[in-house]
């Protein structure tokens, strides 16, 4: 038997005896498909990238770690708080491909912090600070951190020249060295003119496609929201496009018109599906991006979130692992919505609950049974006075009702404004090769 054929037979038999067929290559529904160590059971910790607030505690941005395992003595409690020694508008984070490190960015100071969360997830360590993004790329506001093998692709929001919304993506290797940069298109690609704006990144490896979305520049996101919405000229400067990129060549192949600042992008994780969904913040619309005939991608408005006339401001979304459900948080009315995505062309809202005076990020476990919500959007966009609640709220979801599980009051604990969340799990009985070699 030819060697290749022999191995194919062995491989085939192993698939058979272990019952491993093709399955969705993804993480807890929103992370890079290149990341390892999927947590499909109970997460042990949530790390919350938290904006510092002047006069509250040490006032610094910090990575807050909360024990979220119901079987733990520390369940629902803050077990670690790691300040980075400054306030730079902490916002989003992303794991490296091996899930050992968490990269976190500041939208104001453009610094990138690399935390070791693999050695001991209960006590993350700051191991590197990357401060060369603006100088080397002319980009400002590192937002999305998306793992590629051995690399981190960073979606930015702004630029050093005019602090507006024209920006691009930066590619670093896992050692923190800049490899290259990719400007967002400002010319017509596929018949639609690019606006050059950036925000989220989402990759579908089976399609060799990257999707990016668009938000606003530093001039807008660092401005008081009350002033901003009264400035008609400034309100013109929000993204209105998504871009389809060839992943291998990193070249844009299509610009899609999606007005109203399309934000988070989620691919359906169900095997064989070829669509992604996003929410446009300013128009309160759900948009479906789907591959049509001839391989071209089409963006289509498929639903409304709340009453767009009241500007509910949909912010974060979270798709279920089977691609049949979508959580949407609307910031202004503090409402958490659930949409049935069984027919992604016609999403149906089947549930909503008022979960806070202001709600922003939403993350669900892989099995969908646990849902976590944080309150802060941006330092200058959060509400004032009594409505400025700052919390992480955990819920259990039985398919019908969100039941409160625990809450951490970030103001009372003098932590700051909680924003992005990421899960980790304990290492179990595995030890590193280095620790064993040292014995």
């Amino acid at each position: 038997m030819h060697r290749s054929s022999l191995f194919a037979v062995i491989l085939g038999s192993l698939y058979g005896c272990l019952g491993l067929g093709p399955s969705a290559i993804a993480d807890e529904t929103c992370n890079s498909p290149y990341m390892s160590n999927l947590i499909k059971g109970q997460e042990d910790f949530i790390h919350v990238w938290t904006l510092g607030v002047e006069g509250l505690g040490d006032g610094s941005d910090k990575l807050v770690t909360i024990d979220v395992n119901p079987k733990s003595k520390g369940y629902g409690k803050v077990v670690n708080s790691l300040s980075v020694g400054g306030r730079g508008e902490a916002h989003h984070m992303g794991f490296t491909d091996d899930r050992k490190y968490l990269w976190a960015g500041g939208l104001d100071d453009s610094k990138i912090y690399v935390f070791d969360v693999g050695s001991n997830p209960a006590q993350p360590k700051l191991v590197r600070t990357i401060a060369d993004l603006p100088a080397k790329t002319k980009y400002v506001g590192p937002h999305t951190f998306y793992a590629l093998p051995g690399r981190m692709l960073i979606g930015n929001l702004s630029n050093t020249v005019d602090m507006g919304g024209v920006t691009g993506m930066a590619l670093y290797n896992n050692k923190g060295t800049l490899i290259t940069k990719y400007d967002m298109p400002t010319t017509a690609v596929g018949g639609v003119k690019g606006d050059g704006y950036g925000y989220d990144i989402a990759i579908n490896p089976a399609k060799n496609v990257i999707l990016t979305s668009s938000f606003a520049g530093h001039q807008n996101y660092m401005r008081e929201l009350g002033d901003l919405i009264k400035d008609a000229e400034a309100m013109k400067h929000f993204g209105s496009t998504m871009v389809v990129w060839n992943l291998k060549s990193m070249q844009p192949t299509q610009v899609l018109s999606v007005p109203g600042a399309p934000l988070e992008i989620r691919w359906s994780l169900a095997p064989g599906e070829n669509w992604a969904i996003t929410a446009a913040a300013l128009t309160s619309k759900l948009w479906l991006v789907k591959q049509g005939e001839g391989g071209k991608w089409v963006a289509k408005e498929v639903g409304t979130i709340g009453d767009p006339a009241k500007i509910p401001l949909p912010v974060d979304i979270s798709i279920s692992a089977d691609g049949k459900g979508l959580w949407v948080n609307t910031f202004m009315d503090g409402t958490t919505h659930y949409f049935d995505l069984t027919d992604p062309e016609h999403p149906k809202e089947t549930y909503q609950k008022h979960t806070g005076s202001q709600v922003n990020m939403i993350s669900q476990s892989w099995d969908g049974k646990r849902v976590y919500i944080t309150s802060s959007l941006l330092a200058h966009w959060d509400k004032k006075g009594a409505d400025n609640e700052q919390f992480l709220r955990a819920f259990n979801w039985d398919g019908h009702e969100l039941t409160p599980a625990f809450e951490v009051d970030f103001a009372k604990e003098k932590l700051g404004r909680p924003h992005h969340m990421k899960f980790t799990a304990k290492a179990g009985k595995a030890r590193t090769l280095a620790s064993i070699a040292g014995e």
Binding site: D97, P205, A430
Partner: protein
């Protein structure tokens, strides 16, 4: 006992489960990669210069010290980490099936074949001695002019800097007493290295698409030819 018979016995006692380190409940390896697109033609795109490969001294199949730098320069190199008794269907065996098929495709091109090599480095120097590797290698290189090298280290401490440089995570399952068992966890990565020792692509499981990998190799080959003509 022949090498072919010995391996299944070892495999029965040891299980490598790549892509699973943190043990929260039901963590299942991802499936084999899907590929629902036509890959770009060789030479129509540029691969990124991800990182240079740091030098190290390892051992070859005959126990001779070899400089890693010598095996990542001068040819286009596909390098991966493995261990001989790994049986994870989406780990080392999957990588080897892919590499064997790629080798056969490369051998069909007389111009390309002498310009490409494969390098496998063992994650378990304690068990994968040069003698073990020599027996193992015969399954892959026997009767072929293709350069396919199998390396190990004198000891784990000599291997650690190499793993660190490549960003290859490895952990070992332990028993109830905290003693190492024979289960290695590692994320499958195949590194494409250009003739100047620069990593130009990294294929994790979702990226192991043989047509794309072959086109990437041809892209580097065309790039090398262009550089040589200057």
């Amino acid at each position: 006992m022949t090498a072919m018979l010995r391996r299944p016995l070892l495999a029965a006692a040891c299980l490598c489960v790549s892509a699973i380190v943190q043990g929260a409940g039901d963590q299942r390896p991802a499936g084999p990669p899907r590929m629902d697109f036509t890959p770009l033609a060789p030479g129509t795109y540029r691969l990124q210069a991800i990182q240079p490969v740091a030098d190290a001294t390892l051992l070859d199949e005959r126990g001779r010290p070899v400089k890693l730098s010598a095996l990542v320069h001068g040819k286009i190199t596909l390098l991966t980490f493995f261990y001989t008794y790994c049986v994870d269907p989406l780990g080392c065996p999957f990588a080897h099936v892919t590499l064997v098929n790629l080798r056969d495709r490369i051998l069909e091109d007389r111009n390309l074949a002498p310009k490409v090599r494969f390098v496998n480095i063992s994650l378990d120097p304690t068990n994968d001695t040069p003698e073990v590797l020599a027996r193992y290698a015969t399954d892959f290189v026997g009767g072929s002019s293709f350069e396919w090298r199998f390396l190990t280290a004198q000891a784990v401490p000599r291997l650690l800097p190499v793993l660190d440089d490549f960003g290859q995570d490895v952990s070992i399952e332990t028993d109830e007493q905290g003693r190492p068992a024979r289960t290695l966890h590692h994320m499958l990565k195949v590194f494409l290295i250009d003739p100047r020792g620069m990593v130009r692509e990294i294929y994790t499981l979702a990226f192991i698409q043989p047509e794309v990998m072959l086109n990437d190799i041809r892209t580097l080959y065309l790039e090398s030819n262009t550089r040589a003509q200057r």
